[in-house]
Symmetry: C2
Subunit: 581 residues, 2 copies
């Protein structure tokens, strides 16, 4: 068979099998060497292609879309530094367990490492940051090689998704000419063909005898704490809240745990822990007998100190598959089991219901109430950063996603996101906590069709303004709330802030740019509210609009620092006065 | 000694030794974990620090500065995806042999791979793309560890620069607290201390007997061609032009060879080869006995075909140190020797001067003249892409640098940059030929104080608009000529262009954005000339201005394709008529 037919059938079978394996979206960055993949994806009737020019943004767009849909998303780029631009998002996908398929085009072997243009060594380009790497064979269309193409497609899509999800990298050597011939008969294989390979993945469950013993052990303690860190399993909220009620336990619920909001019972959920665990006396008073954690470590540094302070406490960390996420260094029992099944199995073995309103739980609830009341009344009309985030989480629509930037944004959401019946999906790039790729991540999530609000600071916004092009290009519905304190606001909270000589240049790093001009360039609606009421109105009208809306709230870094300090000390004062006396 | 003193002395000795090893510039991206490095660099009296927020841009800024100065430039960033954002520029630095030091801050060992925030595996993060990687020890200030810090600094700076230059990566584990104490006595070591280690690098020279034989061999041939591909050694121009005159040889001089312009003799320099070697008849008529190449493969695809057509020709490729840059696959003799010494050694052994105006050389010169005359007269007043580049290379100031983007920009410079006495430094990212990082590369080159003009297309400009922030921040003098054909102009020249269904979406990729708004945001002067005369005036006034100037020339992709086609066929017609008949 000739070159074009080899190329066409090989890639068509590959792409078709990806589709049959559940892949619905591909993010393509333009290039010549990647023509066979790009054109075949565009030709395939079941796969939606997204063209994103900046490969760094493209990979983050794919990441956001995959986070939102929990399906693998493919990335296609040409050879050279194009692929290297995927690296930050690949790292984040690895760290936060997101299924991505990086499909990189490459020169064929005879044009590698000989000074040919745009040829770099792409073998294992992403090192240990991918779950697997495979160098694809040159295109051939004999039956065994079409089978190979199909099995590799199915493997890649399923490897990315099974166990701890993560990125997979396939590198494709292509010889010229590069243009497939879509007029070939049976281009996609036989009509109505079943998937070539199918994956059935079981869940880890511990034995009945273990669960019985474990339940008995927990029941022997008076003071337990359930912790829900960042995690994405929706069903956990219901399961863990039943468990908490049955055992009479408080749930420390990170904003990214998906547990703070929803239709499940939220009686035992403690949202205010970050405020009251800042105080050492409180941490000592709340010393638990055990901690049972689902998901990653919470964002809260106060919680980190709480664990650090109690090295002699039984700590149980539940992981669905594997992984070591215990940064404190305390002794730990790792429970490798599906979190939802584990909750229901534990509930079944619970010998008695301990107490719905035991003293231990009451203490947590009481402190939490103090925090909630204090936060509810801090509004002083002016549009502080805290007020902006508080307003946002209050009026964000039901059945929508909130994509949260790192540094200040996630910490403010931790403070201000209270339990409610709203169905919110909380997304963030907390694998490596970078400020890069945030706009594209949010826009990628919005590409799923789900309404998305992206909350981030000015440095994150600047870092990935290129991501706005895709929102414009596809007229995606996204509201971006930029809290612009002209620099790195979080550094004001760190010891570096006391160094007058170097602080502003090295850490404060003001941008001094007017984002409105960029937003105008990308065809977005722009709002610049200066009061909480104006912000509310701006957000509400942005939600009614189609396309890109950017709401910029301009604040002051120093004011923000003092505002937060005052908030924490006010809460501390009230806690010490009303609860700890 | 206490933690702070250990930290301070260790990093101060490291930074001071970098300075003593010739490092003058560091590019710092803000972060917390990198505080010891960032603050110590900022404190050091001899090193200039540049704060660049987007780490991808930061690394390209360092690349451009290192390309311009030929000195190593250090990059400092925090842990996490910050470091991953360096990857594209690290790849380019590896491919195009540019000395960079990536100094990445990391969590200490006890906080790695345990789910601690912003902690990723940074060991060998850049794989084989760095010349060496070293995981630094934790800071200590006993004498042996200060010696270690100094030797590692000196090694890194010198490794980056010796042999084929390239990037080096050092990863620094830091424990909190992170703030050094600059009030310590003898912070930078003893006053007037000599460099701790000094490197003396020799040059490769072949033996006299080899050179005698080689000169005799070349003299036995009638038809030789000297090729100067992309290379950065300034002295080559003089040496190779003397050699060419002595042996009566044409010099095929790539625009990036640094040989086209300057005070040296340019009689034998052929700039028009890309035009006339497009024709197969011409390639056959110009079949050489041997090719002697310095530098990398030229940009010209016509030259590639010329080599491909003549597999039976003696091909000699000169490399200063090592490397295999022969993408055609023809038989080759590699000469590992310093190019300038090699030229003068060869000249010394040249038995006789063959002929200044032999028939072989005359034939090349004649064709070249046809091309030059044709190009000189194509101006039709309208501002085509060709006209824009022609105007730019005509009026670009003496003693300045031209940083050239990939795709169309470098090809148009290949066509329109003619020999002249101007001292121009030609820079480009031709290691991997990416369209990423171009703005930052140009701005980095301008940070050296050398006047820089950056020529690039709209996609390259868009890809790294973030790079403009640094030009604004430091008020750097740079003129950027953006040829905006609203998309990927080079694809119109490829076979993909004939695919009506997918071409515009996958390859044409129009941006449809008004750059003027971004330029306004970054405080640049903006020009939008619509005639060649207006362009000339715009460039001239941009050169008189301080700071950032962007000149945007709006063109049409299809017109540009036809314009170039017409140019090539016009030249071909004249060559066939006047020279080949």
């Amino acid at each position: 068979m000739n070159h074009i037919e080899n190329l066409t059938r090989y890639i068509a079978n590959f792409v078709d099998e990806l589709s049959k394996s559940g892949l619905t979206d591909v993010v393509i960055s333009p290039g010549s060497r990647s023509t066979p993949l790009a054109m075949t994806f565009a030709e395939h009737p079941e796969i939606k292609e997204w063209i994103v020019l900046d490969e760094r943004s493209a990979a983050y767009f794919g990441l956001g879309l995959a986070k939102q849909t929990k399906r693998p998303v493919a990335l296609v780029c040409s050879s050279g530094t194009a692929a290297a631009n995927y690296f930050p998002a690949i790292v984040e996908a690895h760290q936060s367990r997101v299924p991505l398929l990086a499909l990189t085009a490459d020169r064929p072997h005879e044009l590698r490492d000989v000074g040919a243009p745009q040829a770099i060594d792409q073998i294992k380009l992403f090192g240990d940051y991918v779950k697997s790497f495979h160098e694809m064979a040159l295109p051939e269309s004999i039956p065994s090689m079409l089978q190979y193409a199909r099995t590799r497609a199915a493997r890649a899509a399923n490897e990315a998704l099974t166990g701890n999800a993560g990125p997979v990298h396939l590198n494709f050597p292509f010889r010229e000419p590069l243009i497939p011939d879509f007029s070939l008969e049976n281009l996609w294989g036989e009509p109505l063909q079943e998937p070539y390979t199918i994956w059935h993945e079981g869940q880890k469950r511990l034995s009945d005898s273990f669960m019985k013993q474990f339940a008995a052990k927990l029941s022997s303690f008076k003071k337990g704490v359930i912790v829900c860190g960042p995690q994405v399993k929706e069903e956990l909220a219901e399961a863990v809240s039943l468990l908490a009620e049955s055992f009479g336990l408080p749930i420390i619920a990170d904003p990214l745990s998906q547990v703070r909001t929803g239709e499940h019972a939220t009686n035992n959920i403690i949202e205010g822990y970050d405020a009251f665990l800042r105080n050492e006396k409180v941490r000592n008073a709340l010393k638990p007998d055990y901690i049972l954690r689902f998901g990653a470590m919470p964002v809260s540094k106060a919680y980190l100190f709480y664990v650090k302070d109690h090295i002699d406490v039984n700590q149980y960390v539940v992981e669905h598959h594997e992984g070591y996420r215990e940064p404190v260094g305390n002794p730990t029992e790792f429970i490798l089991a599906d979190s939802v099944s584990f909750c229901s199995d534990l509930l079944e073995e619970a010998p008695t219901i301990i107490a719905e309103d035991n003293e231990w739980l009451a203490q947590w609830k009481q402190m939490n109430e103090v925090v909630k009341k204090h936060i509810a009344k801090v509004a002083d009309g002016s549009l502080t950063e805290g007020e902006a985030v508080k307003t946002l989480v209050e009026i964000i629509p039901d059945n929508s996603s909130l994509y949260v930037g790192n540094s200040m944004a996630i910490r403010d959401v931790d403070t201000f996101l209270m339990t409610s019946k709203k169905k919110l999906t909380l997304l963030a790039n907390r694998g490596a906590n970078g400020i890069d790729g945030m706009v594209s991540s949010g826009v990628g999530a919005a590409a799923s069709g789900q309404p998305v609000t992206l909350l981030l600071g000015d440095l994150s916004f600047y870092h990935d303004m290129n991501g706005l092009l895709t929102a414009k290009h596809y007229n995606l519905n996204i509201t971006i709330l930029v809290v612009n304190n002209n620099g790195g606001g979080i550094f004001s909270f760190l010891p570096q802030a006391s160094n007058e000589k170097h602080f502003e240049a090295l850490f404060g790093t003001p941008l001094h740019i007017e984002f409105q001009k960029a937003i105008d360039m990308y065809g977005g609606s722009y709002y610049n509210p200066t009061t909480a009421m104006e912000l509310k109105e701006a957000l509400q009208s942005s939600y009614k609009e189609k396309g890109l809306s950017v709401v910029e709230v301009k604040t002051d870094r120093t004011d923000n620092f003092h505002w937060h300090k005052k908030l924490w000390s006010g809460i501390e004062h009230e806690i010490l006065k009303t609860v700890m006396e």
